[in-house]
């Protein structure tokens, strides 16, 4: 099974990279954009013998304890 984890800065935290990309996109003509946030994306493959529930528990733990810094980041995930 494969988990896809998305990590991004919390809404309350300034995202200097996202802001810069947004600004530049506007400069080169993409006027309809209201916001850009930059984040990270992880693909994690699990051994096939695990159940979906087990994978889910693992993913949450990994995302919470390792992949994010809870002071500034939040995450979401999908399992396929």
């Amino acid at each position: 099974m494969r988990a896809r984890v998305y990590v991004s800065l919390k809404k309350s935290v300034l995202d200097p990279q996202g802001k810069t990309i947004h600004h530049s996109l506007q400069n080169i003509g993409f006027q309809q954009i209201t916001e850009v946030r930059q984040g990270k994306f992880f693909e994690i493959d699990f051994a096939s013998e695990l159940t979906r529930e087990e994978v889910q528990a693992e993913v949450e733990k990994i995302a919470r304890d390792v992949l994010t810094n809870p002071v500034i980041e939040e995450f979401s995930y999908r399992i396929e």
């Binding site: 309350s12 300034l14 200097p16 990279q17 390792v66 810094n69 002071v71």
Partner: protein
């Protein structure tokens, strides 16, 4: 006073810290490998700068899982002196030994240059020999030194006088222009409530000899030594 200098895979300022302690301050120093849990009776621990684990994932994020960090936490809980420099500061933040987190620099680029910082609290073991308001010339070199913390926690930090250094002009004024990375309230270094754990983005070991352009960093190390000789 014996200093222990941690070595993580990817640390690259550990030899600089070691050199400053041994050759400039003439104090004993030992390297401590990240897999070790033995702090070798050191009275102060330096978490050096560099790119531990390549800064992959987040700066300092992987290093905090090293066995040695457990030992450092116990050492700090007992009141031992812990100094995190640059990437070392980031590791201390990730480990929860200090509050807050680092974002990418405001300018989005790595910044290496001399800056001025003002001593905001001279009653820590790291600044005992400085006067409050003293201005130090000291180099920085980092990509992620844009310190952030939520408002309430930041107010607590200020109230507790945990902000130890702020970026300033050469004359000691705290201005937006003198902030090289966008750090909240120009924060360059903070300590824990008890004052025995300090994290700072500037590199005191790079400001430890006149040849390098400044020896203001020596006062920090001397303060550490003096604070323990008084105990």
């Amino acid at each position: 006073m014996k200093f222990g200098v941690l070595m993580f895979p990817g640390s690259n300022c550990e030899h600089d810290a070691y050199h400053a302690i041994r050759k400039v301050l003439r104090q004993p120093a030992e390297f401590i490998w990240h897999q070790s849990t033995d702090l070798k009776d050191c009275q102060a621990i330096i978490v050096p700068g560099g790119f531990s684990y390549g800064d992959y994932l987040r700066t300092g994020a992987i290093a905090r899982f090293s066995p040695v960090m457990g030992a450092v936490r116990r050492f700090a809980d007992r009141g031992g002196l812990v100094l995190g420099i640059c990437n070392g500061f980031q590791i201390l933040l990730e480990s929860g030994l200090l509050p807050g987190a680092m974002l990418r620099n405001r300018g989005l680029k790595y910044v290496c240059r001399q800056v001025s910082i003002r001593v905001e609290n001279a009653r820590t073991p790291f600044t005992g020999l400085a006067g409050e308001g003293d201005v130090w010339n000291i180099p920085i070199g980092h990509m992620e030194g844009n310190y952030t913390l939520d408002t309430d926690a930041f107010q607590r930090l200020e109230r507790n006088r945990q902000v130890v250094f702020r970026y300033c002009t050469p004359h000691g004024e705290i201005t937006a222009d003198s902030n090289p990375n966008g750090s909240a309230a120009n924060v360059a270094g903070i300590c824990n409530p008890r004052g025995n754990v300090l994290g700072m983005i500037p590199h005191p070991e790079r400001a430890s000899e006149p040849l390098l352009g400044s020896e203001d960093g020596v006062r920090l190390f001397q303060s550490m030594i003096q604070s323990r000789s008084q105990v």
